[in-house]
């Protein structure tokens, strides 16, 4: 592990540092943040000051504290959603590659249908049906992102299922879960990890977009996407405060992609 970190290029280290800071503040938000998440501490739109380093928002809540709590909500939910779509999508993808035949056909066509509808429209439609709540949002986004994960893991697994060691395992009478978990998964792991990083960013941006549209994370919960919306009027007055949550989103996205790039580089065997 130590040598792994040592071999990381500066870009990946930067990414990891940013990720670590976000994770730390997210996890320990109540201890790090100067004020509460929904606590009204003064007038609306106060300028930056010693008491409120980033000023206050449209309801007079401390901007910095909301940023910190927002990290927890936005990043946490994105992580959860991505994890769900990956466990479902990659399992189905590997299964389709291994079994082939009608199972592969049915799953692949279902996924095609899912991918035929633009994700944002599909999400708006599904959320309109089930109602906007956090569990519903997580479920809907997870379902939407199962599709690309399924396609990727199926394609990656296709390259593995034809190899002799999988045949050897079949000849040994191994059951499907073993074949998926022990023979195939370790060999497509690096591809999946890399994809996880990218998907995580997409999901993260998606949640922010839904929140911005008002059907994502509901007020008064702090969230980077809706924070941009709530304070958008300030932009007309030349104040950059509303852009800070947006910048945080961008920074985290870049950080994760730097780490992913490094992982992809390692996985492709270009170590030295």
């Amino acid at each position: 592990m130590k040598s792994l970190l040592k071999s990381a290029p500066p870009s990946a280290i930067f990414g990891m540092v940013v990720l670590a800071i976000v994770a730390f503040t997210g996890i320990f938000a109540p201890f790090v943040a100067p004020y509460g998440e929904t606590q009204v501490v003064g007038d609306a739109y106060l300028p930056w000051s010693a008491a409120h380093p980033l000023g206050t928002d449209n309801l007079g809540r401390d901007m910095l504290s909301r940023m910190i709590f927002g990290a927890r909500n936005t990043v946490g939910l994105a992580l959860l959603t991505t994890a769900i779509s990956f466990s479902v999508g990659s399992t189905l993808g590997m299964l389709a590659a291994l079994k082939g035949g009608w199972l592969d056909e049915v799953l692949s066509r279902l996924v095609d249908v899912l991918m035929a509808v633009p994700p944002l429209i599909l999400a708006l439609m599904l959320l309109a049906i089930v109602g906007p709540s956090i569990p519903n949002m997580v479920g809907v986004i997870a379902v939407i992102y199962v599709a690309p994960v399924y396609r990727l893991s199926r394609a990656a697994a296709m390259n593995v299922v034809g190899l002799d060691f999988v045949e050897a395992a079949k000849l040994r009478g191994e059951r499907t879960p073993w074949l998926l978990r022990r023979e195939i998964l370790p060999n497509i792991w690096s591809t999946l990890i890399a994809e996880f990083g990218v998907r995580f960013c997409f999901v993260f941006l998606f949640i922010a977009a839904l929140s911005f549209l008002g059907i994502g994370i509901q007020p008064p919960t702090a969230d980077w996407g809706s924070m941009v919306k709530e304070n958008a009027t300030l932009i007309s007055f030349g104040d950059i405060t509303p852009l800070i949550p947006a910048a945080a989103i961008a920074l985290l996205t870049v950080a994760i992609n730097l780490i992913v790039d490094w992982m992809l580089h390692r996985a492709s065997g270009l170590k030295s």
Partner: protein
């Protein structure tokens, strides 16, 4: 001092400058005009790197670290790219092992032929095309006027290799590097290609470096042979001297490999372990196996021989249960054998094991050797804890591998060691019957011999029955009790080893046997004369 090519103290390195990985450590080679030099050695000996260096070229990540490469008086090391480019293709040409991978699949053969002459301004397109047809005719390609207008996938492997040689001749170079040009071909095809290459090189008095690991092949092609090991020339001598009186121990050990024979080749009468009655198999509408009848005698090795496409690997898949037969039935000890893998009972699964050709794809690269061996032992024999660990270590001893390898990944092992792990995995099940699918084809001769000796020893110790699939008749002669010759999914001939090798009844078997290159330098001439008379007789 060669008057065409002089390589002096050539040193090639890869990796970091501080701790370089030395590929060639001071190689000396010389070549006269019109001379053919054979480079022989195992993989990793540096043959291919030496061949490329003779063109003033090194692979990515490799660098010249000393010595000189002088071609016709000009130093190639450090020569500008433009100057090198003017030499390559025009005065020095290269023929690669896999013609299929070296041709551009989207262009016709003759298009690719005319590229070099036009680029170097040797001739225009029309002249180049005429010339191509003439060379195709000399290379004895069928329909020389027409074949050039086909795409690479439309001609056979042997023909492709010949068109590639013709392409290398396009500018009438002074030197051609042949890098294992016939290694991927069947023996009967190999003869044609070898003959065509030899003729054309002789006719135009072209010098050549012929790289191969096959001693019999090199003795047909080369005037002089240079044996390489670990980046150094072990011994260089004219072909005849080299064959009759090799000086170095390493050379002698290479020569001796070919004479390995199992001591107990006399096959007594044995009961049939597997009997096959009227088995046919098909992939969709394509029949691959057609009404096969044979037996595998218990405790013996039955070799299944045939060229690529003869259905020998399909037969293995059918026996293993991966492809149920369309017709017919197998019997295991006279009891019907369940055709489908999914319905076989654990005892049957345990009894039939398989060893694969490519150890690279048959071992999961993400598991270490211990995991690879532990799983089948646990699954098939139910051993646990200390007993399980002891058995895994015992398996390593059985295949002569150091127990320290248990904690390594397959990528940290050599080809021969990986193949031994493959064998250990098959033995873990304690089977009665093992299918060996081209298990030595991907290995160097010395390593392959070690594997064959191991298999013979295991067979006697553990009373195993082998089905040995191969296209290499030298291996068959070394290890088999019984031989089945397959062609186009049908059995051409079967019988005891001495019967098949001593007195083959069928014309195809005879042809297959005479196509195996011999160490005698006259062999190719004689074999081609035989082929010709055979063709005329027909």
């Amino acid at each position: 001092m060669g008057n065409l090519l002089n390589i002096r103290g050539l040193r090639l390195e890869a990796g970091s400058r501080a701790r370089p990985n030395v590929i060639l450590k001071g190689l000396d080679l010389e070549l006269d005009r019109g001379e053919v030099l054979g480079l022989v050695g195992e993989s990793g000996a540096g043959k291919s790197s030496a061949g490329l260096a003779a063109m003033g070229y090194v692979r990515d990540g490799v660098r010249f670290a000393g010595g000189s490469v002088e071609f016709d008086g000009a130093e190639l090391i450090g020569m500008g790219r433009g100057q090198l480019r003017r030499l390559h293709g025009k005065r020095i040409a290269y023929v690669a092992q896999s013609a299929a991978a070296s041709f551009n699949p989207a262009k016709t053969l003759i298009d690719q032929y005319t590229e070099a002459p036009r680029l170097h301004g040797v001739s225009g397109r029309a002249t180049a095309e005429e010339d191509a047809v003439a060379l195709y005719r000399q290379m004895q390609l069928p329909n020389p006027e027409e074949i050039g207008f086909r795409y690479p996938h439309q001609v056979s492997g042997g023909q492709l290799q010949r068109t590639m040689t013709a392409m290398a001749m396009a500018c009438r170079p002074d030197l051609i590097i042949f890098d294992e040009p016939t290694t991927a071909l069947d023996v009967t095809t190999q003869i044609e290609v070898l003959g065509a290459i030899r003729d054309i090189v002789e006719q135009y008095d072209t010098a050549a470096i012929y790289i191969t690991h096959d001693l019999a092949v090199v003795s047909q092609m080369a005037d002089r042979i240079c044996v390489m090991k670990d980046g150094e020339a072990v011994e260089t001598a004219p072909t005849k001297t080299m064959l009759d009186a090799p000086q170095e121990d390493y050379t002698r050990s290479l020569w001796a490999v070919r004479s390995f024979r199992r001591p107990d080749a006399e096959a007594g009468e044995a009961q049939a372990l597997i009997r096959c009655e009227g088995v046919s198999a098909a992939y969709g509408p394509m029949t691959v196996l057609d009404n096969l009848n044979f037996t595998f005698p218990r405790g013996q090795t039955t070799a299944v021989v045939g060229e690529s496409g003869s259905g020998k690997s399909t037969l293995a898949r059918v026996i293993a249960g991966l492809l149920p037969p369309a017709l017919g039935q197998f019997f295991w000890n006279d009891a019907p054998l369940e055709p489908r893998l999914a319905k076989r009972d654990p005892a049957t699964l345990r009894n039939i094991q398989m060893i694969y050709q490519s150890a690279d794809t048959s071992l999961n690269p993400r598991h270490n050797i211990r995991e690879i061996l532990t799983r089948p032992v646990r699954k098939f024999t139910g051993r646990k804890g200390q007993e399980l660990r002891a058995r895994v270590e015992e398996l390593m001893d059985l295949v002569d591998l150091d127990r320290a390898f248990l904690d390594r990944k397959p990528s940290e092992l050599s080809g021969g060691q990986k193949q031994r792990v493959g064998i250990a995995r098959a033995l873990a099940a304690e089977p009665e019957f093992i299918i060996c699918d081209e298990v030595t084809s991907a290995l160097d001769q010395l390593v392959a011999e070690g594997i064959l000796r191991l298999l013979v020893r295991l067979q006697t110790e553990l009373d195993l029955t082998f089905m040995f699939i191969t296209h290499d008749l030298a291996t068959v002669e070394a290890i088999a009790h019984k031989v089945i010759v397959l062609k186009n999914g049908q059995i051409v001939e079967q019988g005891g080893r001495d019967e098949i090798f001593g007195d083959p009844k069928q014309a195809y078997t005879k042809r297959l046997l005479t196509s195996v290159p011999q160490m005698d330098p006259e062999w190719l001439t004689e074999a081609r004369a035989r082929e010709r008379s055979l063709r005329e007789a027909q």
